[in-house]
């Protein structure tokens, strides 16, 4: 019985941890700030959803730990949820006794109103009870079979996503008549997503997801029974469809969506470069923004019609030069750090990023680089009279160059050089003993990775039309590193997925911007816990994860190393 009591203690303490998380997001102001964004009118907003998700998480987590029957699991969820609610209730009580605002500026009456369901300190029992109910719901989710949980989850997720982005979707679906208007009027009212619309979305997605689940094996087997040529044709068709969707995105989404997409594209370019260094070759680089800056400055200097322009070239002529310059910068950058390994490499590269930024900013180089004033009047690219004047047009440049760079990266990965990089990542000494010239291979990794980022910088210069040193700060390097970790080290699709999640999503949810790095940190920790290989793991890793362990597999060398001089 003792151990039993211990396990219940763990459930409660686990619930309290989630409660602490709820208190934390409340006190940093997230709940209130995100509360501005209503998801379903009169039902729930983003801030409350966050608290709800934390409660659900507490119940889910508690139910999954330890055995026992369904009832025990539900009871665990109840307890954990109540503990989470108790955390918030404690905040309520504390807030009604002492004035917390002296210390926590976000502990406002509005916050307490959200937490207490508008009842103040009298709402304490209600908060605990609500926590318990939510906890039971979270626990119940673990008990449902996959065939029910999957569609249900899809329905809820779709409703939340559509509610979150209702403003954007309404803009996309604007117009007086036609299909777009019909869809808009069916789901939305001008102010947002009403409960009726939410229900419609939920039911439609639920049914569609359930149908797809039951039909998927049939469709799969139908496809696998077609002759190979038809299969190829179908795959090509799917690909063309995907490309078509991507191509119409800027036109359909408007200026704001295009802006976000271009940003995602630029981060994808940098991510592909850093992925080559860190993911393929295992060379940690915290100064990666330097190459982005070098690409941007090269294009700026070569094309600008302003004070600092040196050549007045066209964008298209300047891009290859920018690529070569950042490639050479990569070689030069690699030279002094050839013999540095591991943690020290991170610190050395950190320095490089700062050096480039400070050089651009310095007064000594001001006559050439413009110092903090930057380089202005960088013209837009154009082809035969068509000007890539804004994000909606420049999107296509980023798209084409990302596709091209990803293609190059894929070819390199599957080549002799790619294998040498991976061998070096695994074991530098043995790689050298395999006949790999570490110096060449390392410099190529820095050079090619740098050139990829230089491409991004070149587009960045044209996009903004001006370049300032402060655009190239350390945070960009860290963003890029974070996105390849979240996407999956060494995985090319992972880079795109990572930048959509870590760059695109925060831009679309502007309320998040104050909490961006808080969310980054949390996302990274959760990733490492839940999906250490990333959202879209590299092919070899995924292949292994899906495959059953070979019979009698031994993962570690069983012989103790003998001491040998």
């Amino acid at each position: 019985m003792r151990s039993d009591r211990g396990s219940w203690g763990r459930v409660i303490s686990g619930g309290l941890i989630f409660g602490a998380a709820a208190v934390f997001v409340s006190l940093v102001g997230m709940v209130e700030a995100l509360g501005v964004r209503v998801i379903v009118i009169g039902v729930i907003d983003f801030g409350r959803l966050l608290l709800l998700l934390i409660g659900l998480g507490a119940g889910y987590q508690a139910a999954r730990r330890g055995g026992g029957g369904a009832l025990t699991a539900l009871l665990r969820g109840l307890l954990a949820g109540a503990a989470t609610g108790a955390g918030l209730a404690a905040l309520l009580v504390l807030g009604s006794v002492v004035n917390l605002r002296g210390m926590f500026i976000n502990a406002s009456p509005a916050l307490f109103e959200i937490i207490s369901f508008g009842r103040g300190a009298a709402g304490v029992p209600l908060v605990v009870a609500a926590g318990a109910v939510v906890g039971v719901l979270g626990a119940a989710a673990t008990l449902l079979p996959g065939t029910v949980r999957g569609p249900l989850g899809a329905g809820v997720t779709a409703t939340i996503v559509i509610g979150l982005f209702q403003e954007l979707l309404q803009i996309i679906l604007q117009g007086e008549e036609g299909v777009r208007a019909a869809i808009r009027q069916l789901i939305f009212v001008p102010e947002g997503l009403p409960p009726r619309g939410a229900l419609e979305v939920f039911v439609v997605v639920l049914v569609a997801s359930a149908l797809w689940r039951s039909r998927r094996p049939v469709v799969r087997s139908w496809i696998s029974k077609r002759p190979p040529r038809t299969q190829r044709l179908l795959r090509l068709l799917g690909l063309l469809l995907a490309v078509a969707v991507v191509l119409v995105l800027p036109a359909a989404g408007g200026l704001f969506v295009s802006q976000v997409l271009v940003l995602v594209g630029l981060y994808t370019l940098m991510g592909l470069g850093l992925n080559l260094e860190v993911g393929f070759a295992g060379l940690l680089d915290l100064g990666f923004v330097a190459f982005f800056a070098i690409g941007a400055y090269t294009v700026g200097l070569l094309t600008s019609t302003g004070q600092y322009g040196v050549a007045h070239w066209s964008f298209w002529a300047a891009v290859p030069v920018a690529l070569v310059v950042s490639l050479i910068a990569g070689f030069l950058f690699g030279l002094p750090i050839l013999r540095i390994r591991g943690d020290y490499l991170a610190i050395a590269t950190l320095g490089f990023g700062e050096i480039i930024r400070l050089l651009a900013l310095s007064d000594a180089l001001r006559p050439w680089f413009g110092g903090s004033q930057g380089i202005l009047a960088v013209p837009k690219p154009n082809i035969g009279g068509f000007e890539f004047s804004g994000p909606m047009q420049i999107f296509y440049i980023t798209l084409v160059s990302s596709a091209f760079i990803a293609f190059v990266a894929a070819r390199l990965r599957d080549s002799r050089l790619g294998r040498a990089w991976m061998a070096m990542r695994e074991d530098e000494d043995v790689a050298e003993a395999m006949g790999i010239n570490l110096i060449n291979v390392k410099l190529l990794a820095y050079g090619i990775g740098g050139a990829f980022a230089g491409m991004g910088g070149a587009i960045f210069a044209a996009l903004l039309g001006s370049i300032f040193p402060h655009s190239f700060n350390l945070l960009i390097s860290i963003n890029v590193l974070a996105l390849i970790i979240v996407g999956g080290m060494g995985s090319l699709p992972g880079v795109v997925v990572g930048s959509l999640f870590l760059v695109g999503l925060p831009e679309l949810l502007r309320e998040f911007s104050d909490f961006r790095f808080l969310v980054y940190g949390a996302a990274l920790i959760i990733m490492m816990q839940v999906k250490p290989a990333g959202l879209w793991p590299a092919a070899a890793v995924r292949r292994e994860l899906l495959k059953e362990e070979p019979v009698g597999a031994v993962t570690e060398g069983p012989v103790a190393e003998r001491a040998e001089a």
Binding site: L412, M422, A423, V430, M434, L438, L444, A553, A565
Partner: protein, 261 residues
């Protein structure tokens, strides 16, 4: 002079003399073993030959060419390959990729060729894949090319390491305790396998081994090291009966008696 020859080789780590004026000569197409107690300097010698360590004094020649000042990659390109005492595969790469990395020195494709996928590169890669698959079959791992190296059972990891070493088409293969951790039956298989390497591929074998049944069964010549010095050399029969070898392995007569008293 044989295929590998070291003269007066000395390697120190601070005050410790790991190798002391070692003379060693490995005849071409022989199976030559180095034995000795723990800490005798056997692996240190391998590390000196392959360029991991640089000996303070003395010289080493491969095919009469001095290799003391070369980096490990250059030495491998000349035709020396090795395996490691504690297996050092590229754990997160597949078996096939491990072998392909081993082929690195004699593949020609450049990075530009790889991006453009020129006909020459394609042909090079296709041949490399074919050869890698042949090597996998040769070490009895047909069909395991897609497994990650770390997921192979221990014995197969050892064999994959040999396959990776063979991929560089070596003339001399250094094996560091190839039967470590194996049961008697696996050890016998490995012995037969090593003999095949020499007989079928004509590779000279230099191996470090603790298992005396293997050493005596396979070696044509044995060098015995103790405290970094060569204390004996000869055929298995000569070495087995050498008083200094018995002394190094079992202690002096007095020492043994001392323990008993």
């Amino acid at each position: 002079m044989g295929i590998l020859a070291s003269q007066q080789l000395t390697k120190r780590f601070g005050g410790l003399i790991a190798l002391s004026e070692l003379d060693l000569d490995v005849a071409e197409r022989s199976i030559h073993s180095i034995i000795g107690p723990n800490g005798a300097g056997k692996t240190t010698y391998f590390n000196c030959v392959t360029g991991f360590y640089r000996a303070e004094e003395g010289r080493t020649f491969f095919n009469t060419q001095p290799i003391d000042t070369l980096t490990p990659d250059k030495i491998t390109q000349l035709g020396i390959a090795r395996t490691y005492q504690n297996i050092r595969l590229f754990a997160n790469m597949t078996c096939l990729e491990n072998i392909l990395v081993g082929m690195h020195p004699h593949l020609k494709s450049s990075w530009m060729g790889a991006i453009l996928r020129t006909p020459a590169t394609r042909q090079d890669e296709a041949q490399a894949h074919e050869e890698a698959i042949r090597l996998l079959q040769f070490v009895g791992q047909r069909g395991k090319g897609d497994y990650l190296a770390r997921n192979l059972p221990y014995g197969e990891q050892r064999r994959l390491e040999v396959a990776r070493a063979l991929a560089s088409r070596p003339k001399l293969l250094l094996l560091d305790e190839p039967t470590a951790g194996m049961n008697p039956r696996e050890s016998m298989d490995t012995m037969a396998f090593i003999r095949r390497l020499r007989d079928e591929l004509g590779i000279t074998i230099l191996l470090i081994e603790h298992n005396m049944r293997v050493v005596m069964g396979i070696s044509e010549i044995i060098t015995v090291l103790d405290f970094g010095q060569k204390i004996a050399e000869g055929t298995p029969d000569q070495v087995r009966n050498d008083p200094r070898v018995i002394e190094a392995y079992l202690g002096t007569r007095r020492g043994v008696a001392g323990v008993g008293a």
